[in-house]
C-alpha cells in the first residue's frame, strides 16, 4: 500500500493529473465519467474536465478550486494507492500538512512554462518537514514547451539545488502532460529523450517499506481488554518489532516484564509484530497498566520529559498561537494539558527564512515552539518516529484541532556539552568518503588503497570497513532491514565523529537502502561536514563471478537469505559525487579518482 499526497494548484493541472491517473488506469467508473461529461458540457467546456472528478464539494465545483483534502483510491495489479489530494495555495497550507502527515510520498506539480515557483519550494519544504521521504516532481504541460528536454533538465537542476537544503531521502522527476496523458500511465512517444518510467510505474515500484522505524519498539497502550481470565493491552505498534518472550518495560512506571503472547485482531496468534499492526499483548506479570502507558524494550526507551520542542503548524483562522496559551495535547494515546512557553522563531515557508522577532503564529504559519506539559510525555523525535513524535493541540473553548506538532530532538534531557575547541583550531579538516555498492564490488579494496594514499600524503585518514566493524561495534546486528539501518546509522555516527576530529573517514559499506544513507548525509550536512558518496557500480554478474567469500554461491543455493543483489534490493544512489565502474580501471586507479575529487571538489 502506498499513501501519497499531491500538492499543486488548479493552474498547475493537479486535479487534471489525478483525474488522468484515475481515468487511464481505469479507476474511475462510467457513471462518474458521465457525470463529469454532463457538468463539463453544461459549463460549455469541450472536453470532459477531469478536475471535476476530485473536486467533490459544491463550492469547489462552483469556484473551480480545491478547498479541502479529498481522498482517492487507485488499485493496480501491484499496489493499492491512497491519494490525498490537497490544494496548493498558501492559504491551504494546513490542508497540505494534513495530507502529508500520513503520506509515504509527495507528488509536487510544476508548470513547465513557469518552472520552480515559490509554491513548489513551499510544497517541498512541507513534505520534508512532515517526514515524507519520497518526493516526485512532476513537470507538467510539457506539450506547451515543445516536449523540450532542455527545459526539463533546467527545472530538474534548479529543484535539486533547492532540495539539498531539505531532508528528502529520495527525489524523482517525471515530465508529463496531464491533459494528454503523456508519461502518466503510459510512457510518452513525444519525449523519447526521457529515460525514466511513467508516473504510475514509479508509484507502483517505489520502495517504502524501509521508511518505517523497525528499531525502536514502541507500543502505546490504547485500550485494556478484560475478559474471563484474560487481561490484554491493545494498541497499534508505533515502532520496532515485538515478539513473545521479549523483555519489556511499561512506562512511565518502569515495571519490567516479559511479553507472554501477542494476538492479532480476532485472536490470531502473532509471532512478531511491527508497525502499523493493531495487536493485543499479554505480559507475564499482572501489572497495573492503563491507556496512555507505553511498552518498550528496557534498553531502548523513548525520551521522558515535560519540556517539548517542536515545529508547529497553526491550523485555524479563529485564533493565534501565543506564548502563555494553554491547550489539550493529543500525543499517541495520551491527552495532557500543555502550555506554550516560547516561540523561538517563525519560519517563512517560501524562503525558509527564520523570523526570530515573531511573537505569534496564525493560520498556515509554521514555527518552532517550546511547550511544557502538565505530566511527562513519552516521546521520540518526529524524524525518528512519526507516531511517537507527533501531536495535535485542541482548543478547549472550541474543541477544534488548532495545531499540528512535530517534536524535535530534545536538548534538555541530555545536555550537549559545548567544546572549547573549534573546528578551525584543529590541524586538519575532516570529511567522510562513503563507498556504497554490492558485496564484492571492490569497495574495501578501493577504500584500503585510498586510505594508504591519504596517509602517505600526510592526511590523517581511517578506514571503517563494514565487515570489520561487525566484529566489534556492530557485533550484535544481523541482516534484517532494521539491523541494516542500525548498522548504517552507527557507522555513520562514527564516521561523523572521525570527520569532526579532523580525519578523513573512509567508509566501505554495502549500505543498500537509500533512506539510511541519506540520513547519514543529512546528519553530516547538519553538522557542517562534507559527505562524499561514491557509488561503486559493479554489475551484479561481475560481483558474482568474483565472489571472494563464496557468499553469492551460498545465497543462490538458498543457504542464506536477504542477500543484497540476490533476494534483497540495492537502492542506487540518486546523486552520488562519483560513480566508479569496472571500465574505470583497477582499484588503484579508482582510488586516484576519489583522491582527485577530494583535492578538487
Amino acid at each position: 500500500m502506498l499513501r501519497l499526497a499531491t500538492a499543486g494548484s488548479v493552474d498547475d493541472g493537479k486535479s487534471t493529473l489525478i483525474g488522468r491517473l484515475l481515468h487511464d488506469s481505469k479507476a474511475i467508473f462510467a457513471d462518474q465519467l458521465a457525470a463529469v461529461e454532463r457538468t463539463s458540457r453544461a459549463r460549455g467546456e469541450d472536453e470532459p474536465n477531469l478536475a471535476l472528478l476530485t473536486d467533490g464539494l459544491r463550492a469547489e465545483r462552483e469556484q473551480g478550486i480545491t478547498i479541502d483534502v479529498a481522498y482517492r483510491y487507485l488499485v493496480t495489479p501491484k499496489r493499492k494507492i491512497i491519494i490525498a489530494d490537497t490544494p496548493g495555495h498558501v492559504q491551504y497550507t494546513r490542508n497540505m500538512v494534513t495530507g502529508a502527515s500520513t503520506a509515504d510520498l509527495a507528488l509536487i506539480l510544476v508548470d513547465a512554462r513557469k518552472g520552480i515557483v515559490e509554491q513548489s519550494r513551499r510544497h517541498a519544504f512541507i513534505a520534508s518537514l512532515l517526514g515524507v521521504s519520497h518526493l516526485v516532481l512532476c513537470v507538467n504541460k510539457m506539450d506547451l514547451v515543445d516536449w523540450s528536454a532542455e527545459r526539463f533538465a533546467e527545472i530538474r537542476e534548479e529543484f535539486r539545488r533547492f532540495a539539498m537544503k531539505l531532508t528528502v531521502a529520495d527525489l524523482a522527476f517525471v515530465p508529463v502532460s496531464a491533459l494528454h496523458g503523456d508519461n502518466v500511465v503510459q510512457r510518452s512517444a513525444n519525449m523519447p529523450w526521457y529515460e525514466g518510467t511513467s508516473l504510475l510505474h514509479h508509484l507502483e515500484e517505489v520502495h517504502v517499506a524501509s521508511d518505517r522505524n523497525l528499531i525502536d519498539a514502541r507500543l502505546p497502550v490504547q485500550y485494556v481488554i478484560r475478559a474471563q481470565g484474560f487481561r490484554g493491552y491493545a494498541g497499534t505498534v508505533a515502532g520496532g518489532v515485538l515478539k513473545p518472550g521479549d523483555e519489556v518495560v511499561v512506562l512511565p512506571a518502569g515495571f519490567p516484564s516479559r511479553i507472554r503472547e501477542v494476538w492479532g485482531p480476532g485472536g490470531e496468534p502473532v509471532n512478531e509484530t511491527f508497525p502499523p499492526q493493531a495487536v493485543t499483548v499479554r505480559l507475564d506479570d499482572e501489572l497495573d497498566v492503563a491507556r496512555g502507558d507505553l511498552i518498550c524494550r528496557p534498553h531502548n526507551r523513548p525520551h521522558v520529559g515535560q519540556d517539548i520542542d517542536a515545529m508547529v503548524c497553526w491550523l485555524t483562522e479563529r485564533s493565534t498561537l501565543t506564548p502563555g496559551a494553554r491547550y489539550t495535547m493529543r500525543h499517541t494515546t495520551r491527552s495532557v494539558r500543555a502550555q506554550v512557553q516560547e516561540l523561538p522563531y517563525r519560519i517563512d515557508v517560501n524562503t525558509l527564512h527564520r523570523d526570530e522577532a515573531a511573537d505569534s503564529l496564525s493560520l498556515n504559519e509554521i514555527g518552532r515552539v517550546r511547550l511544557r506539559t502538565q505530566t511527562p510525555l513519552l516521546f521520540d523525535s518526529y524524524r525518528r518516529n512519526r507516531s511517537t513524535g507527533s501531536f495535535i493541540l485542541v482548543d478547549d473553548a472550541t474543541n477544534n484541532t488548532v495545531a499540528a506538532g512535530m517534536i524535535t530532538e530534545p536538548s534538555a534531557s541530555v545536555v550537549w556539552h559545548p567544546t572549547a575547541v573549534g573546528r578551525s583550531d584543529r590541524a586538519t579538516r575532516g570529511l567522510t568518503v562513503w563507498l556504497t555498492g554490492l558485496s564484492a564490488s571492490g569497495k574495501s579494496t578501493i577504500a584500503a588503497e585510498l586510505e594508504r594514499r591519504l596517509v602517505l600524503a600526510g592526511r590523517p585518514a581511517y578506514r571503517l570497513d563494514g565487515d570489520n566493524l561487525r566484529h566489534g561495534l556492530n557485533a550484535g546486528l544481523g541482516f534484517s532491514a532494521a539491523d541494516r539501518a542500525e548498522n548504517v546509522r552507527r557507522v555513520g555516527e562514527v564516521a561523523q565523529l572521525f570527520a569532526d576530529a579532523g580525519l578523513v573517514a573512509v567508509v566501505s559499506l554495502i549500505s543498500p537502502y537509500r533512506a539510511d544513507r541519506d540520513l547519514v548525509r543529512a546528519r553530516h550536512v547538519a553538522a557542517g561536514l562534507a559527505f562524499v558518496e561514491v557509488f561503486v557500480d559493479t554489475p551484479v554478474d561481475v560481483c558474482e563471478a568474483r565472489d571472494p567469500k563464496g557468499m553469492y554461491a551460498r545465497a543462490r543455493a538458498g543457504e542464506i537469505t536477504g542477500f543484497t543483489g540476490v533476494d534483497d534490493p540495492y537502492e542506487v544512489p540518486v546523486e552520488p559525487a562519483l560513480v566508479l565502474r569496472p571500465q574505470d580501471g583497477d582499484p588503484a586507479a579508482m582510488a586516484a579518482r576519489v583522491l582527485a575529487l577530494l583535492d578538487h571538489p
Binding site: L53, Y71, R72, S101, Q222, Y223, A227, F230, V394, N399
Partner: protein
C-alpha cells in the same frame, strides 16, 4: 534473515479500522454502531468483534428501520445480533411519521430515504449516544471523499463540510459538548473491492440478496427495482423475473439491483472488478437527485 515486515493491503486496512474502533471505545462514553444489515455495516460489526476479542463488543448497534425492509435483511439482522451478543436498538421511521415529526412523501416514487435522517438523529439523541460508527467509505461518492474519519456533528446533527477539523496522523479529535456527537467512519479508506475481498477472505456471512437469486423486478429510471409490496407500479411498468443481486442494501423503494449470476463472494469480486459503474451510481435512486445530492443530505445529518 530478512522479513519484509509489511502488511498486505487488507491487513493494513483492518489494522487501521481496528485502531479507530478501539480509540472510540476508549474515549467516548456511549458509542453505537449503525447497523443496517448492509455489507459495510456487517463488515464493521465483524471488525468490532475482532477489535475487542476475546471480550464482547462493548457497544450496542442501532438500526434505523424505514419500515420498507427486505424481509431477508431483517432476519439477517436478528441473527447477527444474536451471534455477536450485542444489544440491538431500533429507531423506526414509522414512529416519527405517527408522531407528526416526519411527513411521508406521496406518489409512486415516494421514498423514506430522506426521513431516515429525522429518525437517526432522534435515535442518537434519545439514547444519549456520543459517537456513532457508520460504514460509509470515501470511494462511494465525491462528497464522502471529503469526509473525516471522526466527523463532527453539531447539536442539530448537521455536517459542515467547509468547517471540518483537520485530521492528522492517526490522532483523532473526538472532543464535543453535550448534545453534539461524532460520526466515526472506520472504513473510510476501503473501496467496494476491498470490502468484497475481505468478505471472501474472512468468510463473512451476508444477507442472501447480495448474491444472485431470481426475483420479480421492474425497470425504473435505468435501474432494476425489486418488485416488492412497497413499490407502486407506474403505467407501463411490467414486472419480470430475472437473476439479480444487490450491490447495496437500503430502503426497498430506492435500492436497485443488477443482473448477475454471482452466487459466491469470489464470483462477486470478479464482477465488481470488471464493473464499469460505482455501486451507488448503478443502484441508488437517492443519489441521483442532483449533483450535490449526497452533500446536501449529509449536511442535514444523513448517514
Amino acid at each position: 534473515m530478512t522479513t519484509a515486515y509489511e502488511l498486505s493491503p487488507p491487513r493494513a486496512l483492518e489494522a487501521e479500522s481496528v485502531h479507530v474502533l478501539r480509540e472510540v471505545a476508549a474515549t467516548f462514553e456511549r458509542p453505537v454502531l449503525l447497523f443496517s444489515g448492509g455489507k459495510d455495516s456487517v463488515v464493521l460489526l465483524h471488525l468490532a468483534a475482532k477489535a475487542f476479542w476475546p471480550a464482547p463488543v462493548p457497544f450496542p448497534v442501532l438500526h434505523v428501520d424505514t419500515g420498507h425492509n427486505f424481509d431477508e435483511v431483517l432476519a439477517f439482522r436478528d441473527r447477527a445480533v444474536a451471534r455477536f451478543g450485542v444489544r440491538l436498538v431500533v429507531a423506526a421511521v414509522q414512529d416519527d411519521i405517527d408522531a407528526g415529526r416526519a411527513v411521508e412523501e406521496t406518489g409512486p416514487r415516494a421514498s423514506r430515504n430522506r426521513l431516515q435522517t429525522i429518525t437517526l438523529l432522534r435515535g442518537i439523541a434519545e439514547n444519549g449516544f456520543d459517537a456513532a460508527f457508520g460504514g460509509a467509505r470515501r470511494d462511494e461518492e465525491k462528497a464522502r471523499a471529503k469526509e473525516r474519519v471522526f466527523s463532527f456533528r453539531d447539536e442539530y446533527g448537521q455536517w459542515d463540510p467547509r468547517n471540518q477539523r483537520p485530521e492528522l496522523w492517526n490522532l483523532y479529535n473526538g472532543a464535543h459538548r453535550k448534545g453534539e456527537h461524532i460520526r466515526v467512519f472506520p472504513l473510510s479508506n476501503w473501496t467496494e473491492l476491498d470490502i468484497w475481498r475481505y468478505i471472501a477472505a474472512e468468510r463473512i456471512d451476508l444477507p442472501s440478496l447480495y448474491y444472485a437469486h431470481r426475483r420479480p423486478v421492474v425497470h425504473r429510471d435505468g435501474m432494476l427495482l425489486a418488485h416488492t409490496r412497497f413499490i407502486t407500479l407506474l403505467d407501463g411498468d411490467e414486472p419480470f423475473e430475472a437473476s439479480v443481486r444487490f450491490r447495496t442494501v437500503g430502503d426497498a423503494t430506492c435500492t436497485g439491483c443488477v443482473e448477475s449470476t454471482a452466487t459466491t463472494a469470489e464470483a462477486v469480486i470478479a464482477e465488481v472488478a470488471a464493473s464499469r459503474t460505482t455501486e451507488r451510481g448503478a443502484t441508488r435512486a437517492d443519489d441521483r437527485i442532483s449533483e450535490a445530492g449526497m452533500e446536501d443530505r449529509k449536511k442535514e445529518g444523513y448517514f
